[in-house]
């Protein structure tokens, strides 16, 4: 029997009707046309599919649509907008923390989630929190710098 899943998506109340078992990553990309969240491995290893669910970084390729019933989902499209980017997004740009950009939405959302939980992480804490997000182009060094910079800006530093 078809179910209706209600949830908040990028600060808007939405509904999805289906079996409930549909893969969340593909529902976001196809049914909601939000293609910023990426398919990298389909098995939760790479983090390219990272979204926020109730402010926590989750791997959407490992979830079903039923998993977000009643929850607040944030994709990269919901984070800031062109005129008012999130500090983490600005930091990624300032520090050249991307090359091909495919891992980037997942990296940014994972970093946002980290900074919500730990506003002033040490470099080791950043590395530990980010270590399961993969980047093939080798932007890791600059991603760490970007997160450190965003953390400083957000906590009133420079």
């Amino acid at each position: 029997m078809p179910k209706t899943i209600s949830f908040t998506l990028n600060n808007t109340h939405v509904e999805f009707t289906g079996q409930g078992e549909e893969n969340l990553l593909h529902v976001l990309r196809t049914d909601f046309n939000l293609t910023g969240t990426k398919f990298g491995c389909g098995e939760g290893y790479c983090g390219a599919c990272t979204i926020l669910v109730d402010n926590m970084a989750m791997r959407s390729c490992q979830m079903t649509i039923a998993d977000v019933q009643g929850k607040a989902v944030l994709t990269i499209e919901g984070l800031g907008d062109r005129d008012n980017l999130d500090p983490v997004q600005n930091a990624f740009i300032e520090h050249d923390a991307l090359q091909c950009g495919f891992c980037t939405p997942g990296m940014i959302l994972n970093a946002v989630s980290l900074l919500k939980e730990n506003p002033q992480p040490s470099q080791q804490e950043i590395i530990r929190a980010m270590d399961n997000n993969l980047c093939r182009c080798g932007a890791y060094g600059r991603i760490i710098e970007a997160i450190e910079s965003a953390s400083r800006k957000q906590t009133g530093g420079k």
């Binding site: 549909e22 893969n23 593909h26 529902v27 990309r29 196809t30 049914d31 990426k38 398919f39 990298g40 491995c41 389909g42 098995e43 290893y45 790479c46 390219a48 050249d96 090359q99 091909c100 950009g101 495919f102 891992c103 950043i126 590395i127 530990r128 980010m130 270590d131 399961n132 997000n133 993969l134 980047c135 093939r136 182009c137 080798g138 932007a139 890791y140 060094g141 600059r142 991603i143 760490i144």
Partner: protein, 486 residues
């Protein structure tokens, strides 16, 4: 795209395996699914990708079983005995004479396993085929090269086939053509609707044209003053790029052995260009061998290199790297864990110095710091160049420390990142990329040179750290522990 279908296509579990039987009955029970069975093309299509996946999982297929050989343990022996196409890349003087005047002869063989491109974005295509034209959005580095094959498959004139390349999520030499692009185009033509095909990660590993497994046999000689007199190298299957010796040597010969066109390759699957093709393997062997000679001579690796180099561009990058690294080089093995590697990659000169820590209990290697100096002639985009150097070194750590495709005959056993260790945040050293100002020289290449030094620099650093050298990449903790226990 409006009216689009998502496709999943049946492919063999093993290269060369033939389809013996198939049953699409169960798959057809999925509402609104389309199944295409046209000769060798068996595909499932649906407006929703999760429904296409669901139906695809219901298809039953049987393929014939191919050979279990070669595998990771037997491949090098096979490559050693294979190939008939041997050519001389460069030579000078006389090898017998070189041996005669050498006081010490150093011999070693170096091994590289198969390595995948593993871009984070898998190959993907969206195809829209009209009666007399087609537009395809393809994740490829070579749209012009694949256009003829697609045009032929669709029976359309080439000038009616338009290929658009969106931003590619990584290629590294691995995103060119592929039968899956042809399949998607055909499916769009057959169904009359736009079709999107995205490879799964397991498909991506299966279809990849790997950097070839290869071995390099080295026999070199030096005189009593630490000058290289003899350089006799045989490069089996990596390719010949960067194999010309960079040092001043009176007697040398470089041979490259592979498979001639039209001959059967010993590789159980296709191999191809991987960021710095040939050079990663060759420079690993050449610079490791150089350190072996320095060690035999009791001379530190920087002085040994400079003593054998007149080339001003090579001396310049080496000295600039040494100055920045600011470390007193000592003869190997010093326990400091510092290594050097340098190369001339298609007229871009690179020198890299690295410091590693090796945990002798676990065999874990931690790369602490890298300095890389690159002379690429006139620099158009300095920040872009720095990013490419950093990116190349970081990517290179993967094939040095963890990446190895596991296989059994034509079956690629590696299926996802859980079985394939690419570089992570926690592996990443502090990197300083330094660009040499050389504006008199036209702009040279920039994206590939740095990565080709990673094998040599890390092998040398590890040997300096623990007093034992590894001759095989990747240098996994297992291999380190095994080497240390000997």
């Amino acid at each position: 795209m409006e009216n689009m279908l998502y496709a999943r296509v049946v492919r063999p579990p093993s290269h060369g395996a033939k389809l013996v039987s198939k049953n699409t009955e169960k798959a057809r029970s999925v509402a609104a699914v389309r199944i295409i069975e046209e000769q060798d093309l068996v595909a499932v299509l649906h407006e929703k990708p999760y429904m296409a996946d669901k139906a695809f999982a219901m298809i039953e297929t049987r393929f014939d079983k191919g050979s279990d050989q070669p595998d990771n343990d037997s491949i090098f022996d096979l490559l050693d005995k294979s190939g008939t196409h041997e050519r001389t890349i460069t030579e000078q003087g006389d090898l017998a004479r070189g041996k005669q005047i050498s006081q010490k002869i150093v011999e070693a063989t170096y091994y590289n396993h198969y390595v995948a491109h593993a871009p984070l974005e898998t190959h993907s295509i969206t195809a829209k085929v009209n009666p007399d034209s087609a537009t395809l959005w393809i994740s490829t580095q070579t749209p012009f090269r694949i256009q003829p094959a697609i045009a032929e498959a669709l029976k359309l004139p080439e000038d009616k086939v338009r290929i658009i390349t969106p931003f590619v999520g990584g290629g590294f030499g691995g995103k060119k053509g592929g039968e899956f692009f042809i399949q998607a185009a055909r499916l769009a033509q057959i169904t009359g609707r736009p079709v999107q095909l995205v490879l799964t990660r397991a498909d991506e590993f299966h279809y990849d044209h790997f950097r070839p497994a290869a071995l390099v046999k080295a026999r070199t000689g030096l005189d009593g003053q630490g000058k290289i007199m003899l350089w006799d190298f045989k490069h089996y299957f990596p390719g010949s790029r960067s194999s010309e010796p960079i040092y001043d040597i009176p007697h040398y010969r470089v041979l490259s052995k592979g498979t001639a066109r039209g001959q059967r390759s010993p590789h159980p699957f296709d191999t191809g260009a991987w960021r710095g093709p040939g050079s990663n393997t060759n420079v690993f062997a050449m610079e490791s061998q150089t350190d072996l000679m320095a060690q035999a001579a009791g001379i530190d690796p920087l002085t040994f290199r400079l003593n054998n180099l007149k080339d001003p561009r090579m001396r310049r990058v080496l000295q600039a790297a040494a100055e920045k690294f600011d470390h007193p080089f000592k003869p190997l093995p010093s326990g400091d864990g510092v290594g050097i590697a340098c190369t001339n990659y298609l007229n871009t000169y690179v020198a890299t110095i690295a410091k590693v820590l090796v945990d002798k209990q676990t065999g874990q290697i931690k790369v602490e710091r890298m300095v890389c100096v690159q002379d690429m002639g006139e620099i158009i985009n300095p920040q872009g160049a720095r990013l490419q150097i950093e990116g190349g070194l970081i990517m290179g750590l993967g094939y040095c420390l963890g990446e190895e495709i596991k296989f059994r005959g034509g079956t690629v056993l590696t299926q996802n990142f859980g079985d394939y260790d690419i570089t992570r945040f926690s592996w990443t050293p502090h990197i300083e990329a330094i660009l040499i100002e050389n504006p008199e020289l036209d702009p040279q290449g920039c994206g590939e040179p740095a990565i080709t030094t990673t094998g040599g620099v890390l092998a040398n650093a590890v040997a300096d750290a623990v007093g034992t050298r590894l001759y095989t990449l990747p240098m996994t903790p297992e291999r380190i522990r095994a080497a240390l226990s000997k």
